[in-house]
Symmetry: D2
Subunit: 117 residues, 4 copies
């Protein structure tokens, strides 16, 4: 499922073969990530909230959504690899912090700026 | 490293406990992803290209970078989980497409709009 | 209303006084713009489509929305000024192109990827 | 230059003729803005900091940069118009706040997280 080590390995090989690591400094990768997330936003911008799930499962739209999620994944992994950040570790740490910040009893069903998770 | 299944499991539990799945439709999650990538861009915006690696490894900046990468990871996984998209599968497929699109001999060291990877 | 020449003049003076033009190259400004638009997206991410107008007019939310639109305006103007691009001219040209691309009779009420305007 | 009232007028007419105001709620417009800024970031992502000005003035790149700035302008104006926010007023107010926040003597030449302006 989300065992992304195989993707990291493929990305390293891909970039090395093309001598593209010179372009993959963290600033450039953050900017590339922003551009790919922008393409994802382009897909959903005119979709109404209540239609967003159906839109995502429509075979007409699915290839483009998969394609944009692939690009976001690629640049996130390149950035994590370049900076030496372990995404599993930092994400689990953040979820634990969020659990303390948004106690279950006070947060249930309340969207008022619940940030992540 | 990047075995993110444990993160997906933690996110499901976190959101279920707070009844937050109602807010996590794909449109909202794409927008949340955009806001987190924006925070990442905020960190690097005044950093010169050639300083971006050193900046990323400076202990002063590291916690914020880790925190933003965690948030991006969280929302990407929530979106993949909600839409039922397998990130490993779509990323590997995209890398294969990119390998055909950017042949090694023509792409070596050339940054002219090399899009992903 | 949207006569932004006074803003451009104020921005020039502000940046010159602080010697900040050295940071305001187009790449950095594009990245800054991305981070400010991300903050705007953060405000709206959990708001349902049909609630977005009411949310925007709620006095509780208004100062933050105004603040983010101010930041987006500031960086857009800095970028236009730095690159010497006349926003009025290029926007009017683009609207004319869009008018040809999306003929009234075929586009009325159809959101199928109507891009700008 | 940046007297954008003519653009606002053209946008109102364009959207009214196509009955597109129904899609232009503030959430959707914020998302559209994010996607256009993403396209702008795509142009600059592999450009080195020190090359960004020359890149911006290269006639090969200029049409695309103008096109993206046009799109960002269009969606910013649509959003300001929809929410009734006066961009000149809020931007000038923000610059005044920034002037207090970043005193000249302490901020001169220091990029350490100078946010806007």
């Amino acid at each position: 499922m989300s065992d992304l080590n195989s993707v990291v390995a493929a990305l390293r090989e891909f970039a090395a073969a093309r001598d593209w690591r010179q372009f993959h400094d963290p600033k450039n990768l953050a900017m590339a990530l922003s551009s790919e997330v922008g393409e994802l936003c382009a897909l959903y911008r005119w979709v109404r909230t209540e239609d967003a799930d159906a839109f995502s499962h429509d075979p007409k739209n699915r290839p483009r959504i998969e394609d944009e999620l692939a690009d976001v994944t690629i640049f996130l992994l390149l950035l994590a690899d370049r900076t030496g950040i372990d995404l599993e570790e930092v994400a689990l740490k953040k979820i634990a912090q969020n659990a303390a910040r948004y106690p279950v009893e006070k947060s249930r069903g309340v969207s008022e700026r619940p940030e992540p998770g």
